[in-house]
Amino acid sequence: MPDLPRKKIGLIACSGEEMAEGTVTRRAVRTVLETLRPGDTVTLCLPLFLAGSEGERAFARFYPTIAVDGCDKRCAARATAKYSARPAASIVVTETAKERGCGAIGTARRLNEAGLRLAGEVAARIVEETDRLLAKKPRGAGRGSDRGKP
């Protein structure tokens, strides 16, 4: 059997420095990468798409990605689609916060207890999507499957 590269999921956080939800995206993504699914995920740097890192762009063209955005401007999802390929899944922190009835979560510099809990909830969502995507074929539904069709 050939030694094929292991399928991994690329995680892209918006990191939005102007709002606490941007910090939630960072913490959630790092939690998944470091603790919850360390062997199954990598992080991709959003600004590197613009800076022209071919490594980041190529990964997102060939592997499934999950965009994690702080707000409904969805910079991470849109940047991934613009420079590489449509993300396989998209999570928006403000939507998760609304679903959970979350109140004030701190600042972009420091999350409070509620912010840290919200980051945990978002991390759990990322894990759900990661597990779902890893159960599929590498070029499965959700991204790329409708590309090239008229």
Binding site: S15, G22, P47, A51, A108
Partner: protein, 139 residues
């Protein structure tokens, strides 16, 4: 009566993969919240990357400051793409050379050395903000 001066836009590396990037991001907050709260404003790099109208308006035609974690200088590139008239730079990878012995670790939670490095970078950034202010760049 004089109009309130606009704060100087600051963009920082989003650094999610490396401690130096995280230190760049923390330095931007130290600068804008602790050292020069009335003079510097952090602009989200992701918004600049995506050409957000409001974020671009903060930057276009103005002097701006980039705090970057690595030589790819994403923050500087983001500001240039948003139309900054001039981009001044603080490179955390250079700052750490001037503060030998610091061993920054962590991303979401920088260790003590990471926070010291961020403070050092922010202090260099504050000097640049003062320089821009003195030159009338905060119009």
């Amino acid at each position: 009566m004089s109009a309130k001066p606009r704060k100087i836009p600051v963009a920082a590396c989003s650094g999610i993969g490396k401690s130096l990037g995280a230190a760049a991001r923390e330095a931007a907050f130290v600068l804008a919240e602790d050292l020069r709260p009335g003079h510097a404003k952090v602009v989200a790099l992701s918004l600049l990357v995506m050409g957000d109208e409001e974020a671009s308006r903060e930057v276009a035609g103005r002097e701006a400051l980039a705090i970057d974690g690595c030589k790819l200088e994403c923050a500087a590139k983001g500001l240039a793409c948003a139309g900054a008239a001039k981009v001044r730079k603080v490179a955390v990878f250079d700052v750490i050379r001037r503060h030998r012995g610091l061993k920054p670790e962590g991303v979401c939670d920088l260790n003590e050395d990471g926070l010291k490095l961020a403070r050092a970078a922010a202090e260099e950034a504050a000097g640049i903000i003062d320089d821009i202010d003195a030159g009338g760049g905060c119009a």
